[in-house]
């Protein structure tokens, strides 16, 4: 049969050739020895090659350094709170001073255990927690209420209400004192008000209580994670001490008997406070929980929505690895 360059290929021929090609391809692929290929995720486009993260070991010293970093973080928060005017009610100042002493005692103990375990004691706060949790939360707590000037520039939207701009404006949550000037505003301008009386203090105490519960949960986890018997004992001692701290703060915040036991333990709802803060009680669960702890911090936005702050027990990013130093 002569080969005809321009011969037309029928539809039937095309299907036959296509099917044969696919079948042969599959057969060859199935018979191959090395069918593994690259395990790395596929990359699209021209991007730089990612740098592999360093693989720092997590040993007992790292766990103990992390524990002391949590204690120093709590101390930093309490010392900052004492510096903020009115943040700690005067009757609670001796309690806070005692909390600082207790955290320093536990920190010293964790440092000593770290050194006994062959590590270098960590004597400063947890850098990740300070940068990502403590500093932003304290800033939020100290921030003013912000409103937005409306199209009618004599009006402002603040905490979900639209009110006339005045030295004192009345919202559904209470009266707010204006910090900005009362005139010369344009639509969309932000104007500031002082927070409600006691609001910053409420937030600081809620944050302190959450930190104590976080420290409790962290030591509870570390008691299981360590391989050193003395550290296991020390972590449980610290966990029970800080659980007591949390209980005292919960009662101070919510009062008695309201602060004793979470209504959830008897099947009831736990509504937030009138200012939208999440209530945390002295006893909230049957067993010590290590799940995340949530509070609200700072004033509500123009729609009265408050920022959630979530505290979590130490994980890969909060561990204080042996390669870290306090002055780094």
């Amino acid at each position: 049969m002569s080969f005809q360059l321009n011969s037309a290929t029928s539809r039937r021929d095309a299907l036959k050739i296509g099917g044969l090609t696919v079948s042969l391809g599959a057969l060859i692929a199935a018979c191959g020895d090395d069918r593994g290929g690259d395990d790395a995720p596929g990359r699209v486009g021209n991007a730089p090659v990612p740098t592999a993260l360093p693989d720092y070991p997590v040993d007992d010293a790292v766990l103990l350094r992390t524990a002391s970093s949590l204690e120093y973080t709590a101390i930093a928060v309490y010392e900052a709170a004492l510096e903020i005017d009115g943040a700690i009610p005067s009757d609670l100042v001796p309690v806070v001073e005692r909390l600082i002493e207790d955290h320093q005692m536990v920190a010293d103990q964790m440092v000593e255990l770290t050194e006994s375990a062959g590590g270098e004691g960590w004597t400063c706060s947890n850098p990740w927690l300070m940068d990502r949790l403590v500093t932003p939360t304290i800033e939020l707590i100290q921030s003013n209420v912000v409103g937005i000037v409306l199209e009618d520039t004599s009006m402002v939207q603040v905490l979900g209400d639209q009110v006339t701009i005045a030295p004192v404006v009345t919202t559904t949550q209470g009266d707010l004192t204006l910090i900005s000037s009362t005139d010369g505003h344009e639509e969309g301008d932000e104007i500031e008000f002082e927070r409600f009386e006691g609001a910053a203090s409420d937030d600081i105490l809620a944050f302190a209580n959450a930190l104590e519960s976080l420290a409790t949960a962290s030591h509870q986890e570390l008691a299981s994670a360590t391989s050193i018997v003395e550290a296991r004992l020390a972590h449980l001692e610290a966990a029970t001490l800080e659980a007591r701290h949390s209980a005292v703060l919960a009662i101070a915040i919510l009062g008695r008997p309201e602060g004793y036991i979470s209504p959830a333990m008897i099947g009831e709802d736990v509504p937030p406070t009138p200012r939208g803060q999440i209530r945390h009680f002295a006893i909230e669960s049957t067993f010590g929980e290590t799940s995340q702890i949530e509070i609200k911090a700072g004033p509500g936005d123009i729609n009265a929505v408050r920022v959630s702050v979530v505290l979590q027990t130490p994980a890969a990013n909060t561990l204080v690895y042996n390669e870290l130093t306090c002055d780094a």
Binding site: S116, Q220, S224, L233, A243, V248, I251, A282, I283
Partner: protein
């Protein structure tokens, strides 16, 4: 890390005297032992990856004793709740349920039936728990503190991850119980609210 790795305890046949000695010694050391660390003498057991997951026979001996204590405390609270005012009854009910849950959790972890409460503990405290509110709260505070001290002393003895984790999760809530009860008693001494001067219960043997 340069630590001597001790072999996990394989001798699970603890004698009564040895058990009492071990727990008693840990208890007497108490807080002070945890705070005064003799450098270079840290005892390394095994990490969580190498520990048995479920309680060992030695753990079961201790946990069986703890279970009877938790049942006893729960029973005492239940008795106190029956004649108490509303607020006190609610607190006593919750605490009774918690202690009962601890006993059940131990039963679940060990496979040991949640049997009878420690009769001696019940007998020793029944009058106080059925007495005045102050008497009941005072006795309850002492018992919660004792329970925390007992768990704390025992956590150094356990060999399995379950026993360690369960004990830690119980002790932290019992510490909260104690603080709440102290507050109900009107205590404002921070040493009492934050401290614990109770000794652990001396376990009486391995035949529970």
């Amino acid at each position: 890390m340069d630590l001597e790795i001790a072999e996990p305890a394989t001798d699970t046949s603890l004698s009564r005297r040895r058990l009492v000695t071990r727990v008693g010694a840990a208890g007497l050391a108490g807080l002070a032992a945890a705070l005064l660390i003799d450098r270079g003498t840290l005892v390394s057991a095994v990490g969580p990856e190498d520990r048995p997951g479920v309680p060992t026979d030695a753990d079961n001996v201790l946990l069986a004793q703890v279970m009877t204590i938790e049942l006893a405390v729960g029973e005492l609270y239940r008795t106190a709740a029956e004649g108490a005012s509303d607020d006190l009854a609610m607190v006593a009910d919750v605490m009774a349920s918690n202690h009962r849950a601890y006993a059940e959790a131990i039963a679940g972890a060990t496979g040991i039936s949640a049997g009878a409460a420690d009769p001696e503990l019940v007998a020793d405290n029944l009058d106080a728990f059925t007495g005045s509110t102050t008497e009941a709260l005072t006795a309850a505070h002492a018992l919660e503190q004792t329970a925390v001290a007992t768990h704390t002393a025992l956590i150094a003895e356990y060999e399995s991850n379950t026993a360690i984790a369960l004990t830690a999760s119980i002790a932290v809530v019992e510490a909260r119980h104690a603080t709440v009860i102290a507050d109900m008693l009107g205590v404002d001494d921070l040493d009492v609210l934050f401290g614990n001067d109770q000794s652990p219960i001396e376990l009486t043997g391995d035949d529970a």
